[in-house]
């Protein structure tokens, strides 16, 4: 139960960090590595706010143990653009009004990114399916769906 030195590849950067096995990836990202863009909301897999991408798939970092994702490619919201230079998907979220309080946004963007990376031309149902695990109280989702479709168009 001692801390283990593990190597986590986050957004292309290799971090060496000492963690005990009972730390979740969400905790390590936020508390030890400073990736606070990934949000901590329900902590039990109900809301999707902590969504990150591991080896191309959207997963919940609150239910992932940090020690089990060594040697994997972990992408967080910080892998995309920053406030000055948003990437296309983030720009679409902003332009389409898909952001309100912004708390679900990083997780929502990561779910959308996982979708578009795998399927650049999703239909409406595929978009809805991709974000069905991400809860949003502010928007009613319509503008989020619109933003993802907009990004798909802009990217193609």
């Amino acid at each position: 139960m001692l801390d283990q030195l593990i190597h986590l590849k986050v957004n292309g950067t290799l971090h060496t960090v000492a963690v005990p096995p009972h730390r979740t990836l969400l905790e390590v990202l936020r508390e030890q590595l400073g990736y606070t863009g990934t949000k901590r909301a329900c902590r039990v897999g109900d809301c999707g706010a902590c969504t990150v991408i591991i080896d191309g798939k959207a997963v919940l970092s609150c239910l992932t143990l940090a020690v089990e994702v060594q040697e994997k490619e972990i992408l967080t919201i910080e892998a995309l653009g920053d406030g000055d230079r948003p990437d296309t998907l983030q720009q679409s979220f902003v332009d389409c009004g898909a952001v309100q309080c912004g708390f679900c946004t990083p997780g929502m963007v990561m779910s959308a990114k996982a979708l578009l990376d795998e399927n650049p031309h999703p239909d409406r149902e595929e978009v809805r399916r991709a974000i069905a695990g991400n809860l949003c109280r502010c928007t009613g989702y319509a503008k989020i769906v619109e933003a993802i479709e907009d990004a798909a168009t802009r990217l193609s």
Partner: protein
């Protein structure tokens, strides 16, 4: 909402995993996708001293044809299962059921083995420590009451796995391995209708593989899931129905339900009907009625037993109408 300390093992082979399981016995939990176990650990309802993590076990996530059968490694994720061409071609009902689980992230993380072994749940048990401390322990927490079925002598936690219903209807088998050897049992024999111990897994045994029988030709099936919200929710009722159409021999129909008891179960005895005949509306109504009468649900999450029974009837009818019309 933080995990308690545990030791973490990452065996590379199944036998190594079995060895660890043998060594640590009931102090150990086996983790695959973690979407069920980690939540229970966070709530403090499961408190293993060590975790045996199957993720690094070689070859455990393979989906492959073996003879006439299709073998799914227990570690295959639900996304892998639903996207597998072999599954889509031969057992589309299983892809349908995998797609019905949770949401994208949970399908990416959750495994077929984990989904089958899903711990029965209820809203009195699946709660944090301080919540549970506010009332006497239920069976699941070492007490002697069941809050779902007040006055009962057993735990009525509900089994809510989606894929198990499809596997039951398909007549699938599971391969269980342990240090002492292995056995293959039909899915219906794997489950036990007991919220405390809902599978026949023996101490030291692991679910290694799911075996889907036959080439899947001439077979049609569907999985219908009724839940409160369009995603994320466990089934209030899930119904899987499969017809194996014999061209010359008799056709066989299997219907399974999930979400209504402590294990998934076959309802309506497997029915045979003469070759060449289809399902008539009359037969469908009769089977729906039998299924409705057969299930004995308890009240849970604002769903009364009567309504849940009703839903079983509706979903069985819908599933069969869909198959008859297909």
């Amino acid at each position: 909402m933080r995990l308690k300390k545990f030791e973490h093992f990452e065996p590379r082979t199944l036998s190594e995993a079995c060895q660890l399981l043998n060594e640590h016995g009931s102090k150990a939990s086996v983790i695959a996708g973690g979407t069920d176990l980690v939540v229970r650990m966070k709530y403090g309802v499961t408190t293993p001293e060590c975790l045996i993590n199957l993720k690094k076990v070689d070859g455990l996530s393979a989906i492959s044809s073996v003879g006439e059968n299709l073998h799914l490694g227990a570690l295959a994720t639900l996304t892998q299962v639903r996207c597998s061409e072999l599954v889509q071609e031969r057992y589309p009902i299983l892809a349908e059921a995998a797609l019905a689980v949770g949401a994208a992230q949970l399908q990416n993380m959750g495994t077929i083995g984990g989904n089958i072994c899903l711990e029965p749940r209820c809203w009195y048990f699946q709660q944090g420590n301080s919540w549970r401390q506010a009332r006497p322990n239920c069976f699941k927490n070492g007490g002697a009451v069941c809050y779902m079925a007040k006055g009962s002598k057993r735990c009525y936690a509900l089994y809510c796995g989606d894929t198990a219903a499809a596997l039951l209807a398909l007549g699938a088998k599971v391969r269980l391995v342990s240090l002492g050897g292995e056995r293959t049992v039909p899915v219906e024999e794997f489950f036990v209708d007991d919220g405390m111990r809902h599978t026949n897994l023996r101490p030291g045994e692991l679910l290694a593989e799911v075996i889907l029988p036959g080439p899947g030709t001439g077979q049609r099936g569907t999985y219908l899931k009724y839940r409160k919200r369009g995603a994320l929710d466990f089934p209030i009722v899930g119904v899987a129905a499969v017809i194996n159409k014999g061209a010359t021999a008799a056709s066989r129909l299997r219907i399974a339900v999930t979400g209504v008891g402590s294990s998934p179960s076959l309802v309506v005895p497997p029915a045979d009907f003469p070759a060449g005949t289809g399902l008539t509306h009359e037969m469908i109504d009769r089977m729906a009625e039998i299924a409705r009468k057969q299930v004995k649900p308890v009240s849970h999450m604002e769903v009364s037993p009567g309504y849940r029974k009703e839903l079983v009837g509706v979903l069985v009818r819908d599933a069969l109408e869909k198959l008859a019309g297909a």
